[in-house]
């Protein structure tokens, strides 16, 4: 078994760190800009594009560098370890993977190169007020009318619509009533569409939320929105499989984000604990009560990293989506648990100053906490593992 990260991956880590260290002096201002003013960080986005992260999953023939999901995973981790945010790269890369696997040649030639260059931002819209954990309850409908589809319905909690050039929207092309009437499987009838958020008939309302950096969450209403038929990604009614396969990279990248957050929190705690003296001249880091939670977080972080890397590696190897799915879900759950634990231990180590905005720890807490629930909550992962890995009956 090979536990060594390849030379290329090490070079990538060095390059990402070098690139970000040149922006270290802007970090504080950027944090204020993204957390307080919810402004998107276009400068950093362009850096992600220039260094090649947006082309990591893309083959050379479409202008990418094909370095793979493990490379991207390490990049995401380091970005977060250094206290920056990959922001919409998560959804953009996941959509990219989906388009590459299911899209037409035209999608790949027109959209992908522009994504790689940092000129096109993609977001993902699946959640509806009555369809979160259970996507099959979604009601947004796209009806084929000649050379176009007409979309009606609503979506909620869609991140980054204000800066997106396209949203990958999941909608029904066969209604639940039709499925029930014809006795079709429940996964049937969903389709994926590339939709320009500026299209006529889309009403957008921001939902003030904590824990998203530089972007807003949106509620969207679709009223007779006309979408060119060529914007269908994949086969009509077969979108579920296409979509679920692309959710694996998303989970893995969330795992990477969580590992990076945990590492950042632990690093901050360790530096602080070495300096801070409360009783006489002993730094608080000398107390086992401070050391042990950090040491435990460190051990679990190692485990989470290994699981995340294995999931990314399995994806790059082209292993069965089901196998990758299990690896990704387990990695995501462990990593998000570790992130919370590490940030909590770091806050405890810092005491009061941990809650001062300047340390960024309280924001990190929000960021880590949201990833326990979204994009897939802890309970649904445990359900999946119980059912798929342990062969226990479905509980819901």
């Amino acid at each position: 078994m090979e536990f060594q990260i390849s030379e290329e991956h090490q070079l990538l880590r060095g390059a990402v760190r070098q690139m970000l260290s040149r922006h270290e002096h802007q970090k504080k201002a950027w944090r204020e800009m993204t957390h307080r003013d919810h402004k998107f960080n276009y400068e950093l986005w362009q850096e992600f594009a220039d260094i090649g992260l947006l082309g990591a999953l893309v083959p050379e023939e479409y202008g990418g560098n094909n370095s793979g999901l493990l490379a991207l995973t390490l990049g995401f981790e380091d970005i977060c370890t250094m206290g920056f945010s990959p922001s919409l790269m998560l959804v953009t890369c996941m959509d990219t993977a989906c388009i590459l696997k299911n899209g037409t040649e035209q999608h790949k030639r027109e959209i992908i190169p522009s994504v790689i260059a940092g000129k096109t931002i993609l977001v993902f819209a699946i959640t509806e007020p009555d369809a979160g954990s259970n996507s099959f309850r979604m009601q947004t409908v796209a009806r084929r009318e000649g050379d176009r589809y007409v979309m009606n319905g609503q979506k909620i909690f869609i991140t980054g619509v204000e800066v997106a050039d396209y949203m990958l929207v999941v909608a029904r092309t066969t209604t639940r009533e039709q499925i029930d009437a014809k006795g079709l499987p429940k996964a049937f009838g969903l389709s994926l569409f590339l939709v320009d958020p500026k299209t006529k008939g889309i009403t957008k309302t921001p939902i003030p939320t904590v824990a998203t950096e530089g972007v807003y969450q949106w509620q969207l209403f679709f009223e007779d929105v006309e979408i060119p038929a060529e914007n269908l990604v994949g086969v009509e009614d077969q979108g579920a499989m296409a979509m679920f396969n692309s959710l694996n990279p998303e989970r893995i990248l969330v795992g990477a984000i969580c590992c990076g957050m945990a590492e950042q929190a632990i690093n901050m705690a360790v530096s602080y604990a070495k300096e801070r003296k409360v009783f006489r001249e002993t730094p608080i880091g000398a107390y086992q009560g401070v050391q042990h939670p950090l040491a435990e977080a460190k051990i679990q972080l190692e485990a989470a990293k290994l699981m995340t890397y294995r999931a990314a590696w399995a994806f790059d190897q082209g292993m069965e989506p089901g196998v990758v799915g299990s690896y990704s879900n387990m990695a995501k759950l462990l990593a998000s648990d570790v992130a919370l634990k590490a940030v909590d231990a770091s806050l405890e180590t810092h005491g009061g100053i941990g809650f001062a905005e300047e340390t960024g720890l309280a924001q990190l807490w929000n960021g880590a906490r949201v990833l326990k629930t979204a994009p897939l909550n802890r309970e649904m992962i445990l359900n999946y593992v119980a059912e798929q890995e342990l062969g226990l009956p479905r509980s819901y």
């Binding site: 390849s6 030379e7 290329e8 090490q10 070079l11 990538l12 060095g14 390059a15 070098q18 690139m19 040149r22 220039d50 260094i51 090649g52 992260l53 082309g55 990591a56 560098n65 094909n66 370095s67 490379a71 070495k274």
Partner: protein, 264 residues
């Protein structure tokens, strides 16, 4: 045009001073645990100088050369990802802990073995021992001129033109090729490789040479320099607050105190 860039892998200098340890008995630096070694800062800038010459056009081949342990391959790969064409790793237990003169001999021998080298670029000094003589010694050994402390390097018509950093001026120097130029940080930050170049670097060749490949025997590597003592100096910092009602009074008191302390 064939440029060789000499790069050295060193312990990461960007660590807190408290993590820097030496073994006074063995007279060795103890590498910080869990911190990967890096390319010496000025050497990465020397590689940047080579890439700038390459970017300027012409048929330029850049060889990245390093003498060191097997891990120095990472430093070579870094140079290849920045745009280098080929790598040479010179690695042999006989080269462990040799002094600058011996290191220059090994590098100069390898450069001569390559044969067609026009320009050798090195960092102004390696950031581990800071001796700053290797480049100059290589020039002596390959029989070419050396220009030190470069902040700009360009090549035309069989000559290298260098802007040298002086304490309070810049000096422009021209030298015939083959030549050695040592590069200073004023040249600018080195580029970091991007993913397409990193992927390409994976496919580039790194040749490994041993002492036997270079025909160097151990006697030639005997040190000319003896390390007497290695220790971390104790730096004692004291803070003194200078009092005064007005800024003028504070400045006067400060000047008085500095005179007393013989600082001015």
């Amino acid at each position: 045009m064939h440029i060789v860039v000499c790069v050295k892998q060193v312990p990461d200098w960007d660590i807190p001073p408290s993590s820097f340890k030496v073994d006074e008995g063995a007279k060795k630096v103890v590498p910080p645990p869990g911190v990967a070694p890096v390319t010496s800062q000025f050497d990465a800038i020397a590689a940047e100088a080579a890439m700038k010459i390459k970017d300027a056009g012409g048929d330029t081949k850049v060889t990245i050369m390093s003498m060191g342990p097997a891990t120095a391959r990472e430093t070579i790969k870094q140079g290849l990802a920045m745009g280098g064409d080929e790598g040479v790793l010179i690695s042999d237990d006989a080269f462990n802990d040799i002094d600058s003169t011996a290191a220059a001999l090994v590098l100069a021998t390898a450069i001569k073995k390559l044969g067609d080298v026009d320009l050798v670029l090195t960092g102004r000094q390696a950031v581990d021992w800071d001796t700053g003589v290797t480049g100059t010694l290589i020039a002596e050994m390959i029989g070419g001129p050396v220009v030190t402390f470069a902040k700009a390097v360009s090549v035309a018509d069989g000559k290298v033109t260098v802007e040298r950093v002086l304490p309070d001026a810049t000096e422009k120097v021209e030298a015939t090729l083959p030549a050695v130029v040592t590069v200073s940080n004023e040249l600018g930050e080195p580029r970091y490789p991007k993913l397409p170049q990193i992927m390409a670097a994976g496919k580039k060749q790194v040749t490994t040479w041993t002492a036997a490949d270079l025909g160097i025997d151990a006697a030639a590597l005997a040190p000319k320099l003896t390390l007497e003592q290695l220790f971390v100096p104790v730096v004692d910092t004291k803070v003194e607050i200078i009092e005064g009602e007005t800024p003028e009074e504070q400045a006067a008191n400060l000047a008085k105190r500095m005179k007393e302390a013989k600082l001015i």
